[in-house]
């Protein structure tokens, strides 16, 4: 063995020099927090699929109402209660315009001499359900986003001030929160809706009136954690003022958790809107939201289950997608955090 090595030709070896100045060089490009999180998120198949689905739903909510030439508010009693019928798949035995008429299967389109296609059918007033579904989705998403944004702004400001300034300010602000948090959200929301004019704004205000508390508590806890750390002390020593410390040093550190929390606020706002509309406190006709559509569908479930089916499907898909994205983001942005 030893002989073999000795027989190796000298010229195959080369003396290398270790340059001590390059020993500390970082080979891989350094990733920012968000690039790192994105790498982790990308591995989460459920979250990525949910994102694609969510984008599709949002696109449909935007263009859906204009796709088939019907509009969601025109009533046409001649075309009332038509089952779904769609070009192409009508030959497959589903969505072919065949509905129940006193227990028998009848092609209602032929019977009522309707040439048009209502992809998801029509309701009792002859309104196109496909158009109404996407208009409703639009409204539900709008309510959820606006409510989540209000929660975010108030929650971050309140929690930030309370945590950053501490002391007496914090004491007073936290006592208020301690009392508010005892009041069940449901009760507040219902009471607020009862006294306000029903409509979009009322629902948004009702949902966000206690919604910000969760966010403010999380932000406060985070700010408390960071504000005594060395990097903040360093910034202060170098002469940064409060607003700069908050915006440049504290907020970026808290941003991850804010994003995660917002991702969970949105589905809960969607749920509350639908819930309120379902029990009759939410949007009033003729405007449509997923909740009112489900409520309409529930009333005629026995005879025309498709009226209930589509909005239920869309709301379930939305909720699942948001929850999965939220879970994915939580794992990606803050691997240490659990439910």
């Amino acid at each position: 063995m030893k002989k073999d090595i000795e027989q190796l030709p000298q010229e195959q070896f080369e003396r290398i020099h270790i340059d001590s100045s390059k020993a500390e060089r970082i080979e891989k490009p350094s990733l920012s927090f968000w690039q790192d999180a994105w790498l982790r998120l990308r591995k989460n198949k459920a979250a990525i699929i949910s994102m694609v689905v969510l984008v599709l739903v949002v696109i449909m909510a935007l263009i859906g109402p204009h796709l088939n030439g019907h509009d969601g508010t025109t009533q046409n009693l001649r075309h009332a209660n038509l089952p779904p019928k769609m070009q192409g798949i009508e030959n497959l035995g589903i969505m072919d315009g065949v509905g129940n008429l006193s227990g028998e299967k009848v092609d209602l389109y032929a019977m009522k001499k309707v040439d048009e296609y209502y992809w998801f059918g029509t309701d009792g007033l002859g309104r196109d359900l496909f158009t109404r579904l996407w208009e409703g989705t639009q409204i539900s998403l709008l309510i959820a986003f606006v409510a989540a944004m209000i929660d975010l702004v108030i929650g971050v400001i309140y929690g930030g001030i309370s945590g950053y300034f501490g002391g007496r300010t914090d004491d007073v602000m936290q006592r208020i929160v301690e009392i508010l948090i005892g009041i069940p959200t449901l009760i507040v929301v219902i009471l607020m809706l009862m006294i306000m004019e029903p409509g979009l704004m009322a629902i948004i205000i009702a949902i966000s009136i206690t919604g910000w508390i969760g966010m403010s508590r999380i932000v406060r806890a985070q700010i408390l954690k960071f504000k005594n750390q060395e990097f903040v002390l360093a910034a202060r020593t170098l002469g940064s003022n409060d607003s700069k410390i908050i915006s440049k040093h504290l907020l970026p550190n808290v941003l991850g958790i804010i994003v995660i929390n917002t991702m969970f606020t949105i589905p809960s706002a969607i749920f509350f809107e639908a819930f309120l509309s379902f029990i009759g406190l939410g949007l009033q006709p003729p405007s449509a939201s997923l909740g009112t559509l489900i409520n309409d569908g529930f009333k005629v479930m026995e005879f025309q289950p498709y009226v209930l089916l589509f909005p239920s499907l869309v709301i379930s898909i939305l909720m699942i997608a948001f929850n999965l994205i939220g879970d994915g983001l939580r794992d990606a942005l803050d691997p240490k955090m659990k439910d």
Binding site: I183, G280, L324, D339
Partner: protein
């Protein structure tokens, strides 16, 4: 601990007082009147009706009377149900709501714990993904969507169980309980899974393995018992979810419970009943959260509820 409990009880009373006050004054700003066809009455009749319900006095006096009665536990008289006190109304409707809530809670938590354990012990297998997906469905799908699905298929298409109402013994309670159970089920499944996975990685599990304890013993005797303690914390959200759910689920299945009554009293502007039910729900949730916090500290000595100072 005593100091902490005392402080919490004071907060509970402040919260209840605020809710009662807010509800009272919000009710006064409500559009519409609780007395049907009020506008058709002449002035004398109006005066008689108003006097009967005590709404002829100035608002502050009404408020004082209401608060005084409330302190005695009297929630007032319903406007919609003639002459019936809100206390009686609530009491007569308590039973169905309570049965549904308890069944949903027990069933949901037990199945949820089982699912969560399976997921944690068979981490990253088909079982894990299956039960995690199921839990996501339970958290995501609104209870009223789930309830209508159950009602449509199980009751009205397959005729297995009654479609609604509360007159068929235990059969009437199955579907609404199932619909309500989805929330607790999903929450506890997720929670137990996370806790179990964390506990399974801890030192004392490694020690138990080193001692030669078998898998079953480790899972149940060591891991499960420690994972179970934090589950108490989800009781608060679960209780809130059950109350929210009961409003719609009782509506869907036409169950004569408190939730159904609350919704219908909103529809007819029955001030006294709305206030009474609001206070009842609030008190229930506040007490549940209080008990959860106290229990948590008692059961797990590692947690000191009084905060970091102790």
């Amino acid at each position: 601990m005593v100091k902490y409990i005392g402080k919490r009880i004071i907060y509970m009373f402040i919260t209840m007082f605020l809710i009662a006050t807010a509800t009272f004054f919000l009710m006064q700003t409500l559009p519409g009147s609780p007395i049907a066809s009020y506008s058709k009455l002449n002035d004398t009749q109006k005066a008689i009706v108003e006097k009967k319900y005590g709404i002829d006095k100035p608002k502050p006096v009404q408020y004082a009377i209401y608060m005084k009665n409330l302190a005695k536990g009297d929630l007032g008289t319903s406007f919609a149900f003639k002459g019936k006190s809100v206390n009686d109304l609530l009491a007569s409707r308590m039973k169905p709501s309570f049965i549904l809530g308890a069944q949903a809670m027990v069933f949901g938590t037990i199945v949820g714990i089982l699912l969560g354990m399976i997921a944690a012990l068979k981490q990253n297998t088909f079982w894990d993904y299956g039960s995690t997906f199921f839990a996501i469905l339970g958290i995501s799908i609104p209870s009223f969507v789930f309830a209508t699905l159950l009602q449509y298929y199980v009751a009205s298409q397959w005729h297995l169980l009654p479609v609604g109402l509360w007159n068929d013994g235990w059969k009437s309670s199955v579907l609404p309980s199932l619909a309500l159970a989805m929330g607790p089920l999903a929450l506890s499944a997720r929670f137990i899974r996370t806790e179990m996975i964390e506990v399974m990685g801890s030192d004392y599990i490694t020690l138990a393995k080193a001692k030669g304890a078998n898998g079953f013993e480790i899972a149940f005797k060591h891991a499960f018992r420690n994972a179970l303690i934090p589950l108490i914390t989800v009781l608060g959200p679960v209780a809130a979810g059950l109350v929210t759910g009961s409003l719609v689920v009782e509506q869907i299945f036409a169950i004569p419970g408190i939730g159904e009554q609350f919704v219908s009293s909103i529809m007819v502007n029955d001030f006294a009943t709305i206030m009474g039910t609001t206070l009842f729900f609030s008190a229930f949730l506040i007490v549940v959260i209080f008990i959860v916090d106290i229990l948590y500290g008692v059961i797990d000595p590692r947690i000191r509820v009084a905060g970091g100072k102790a």
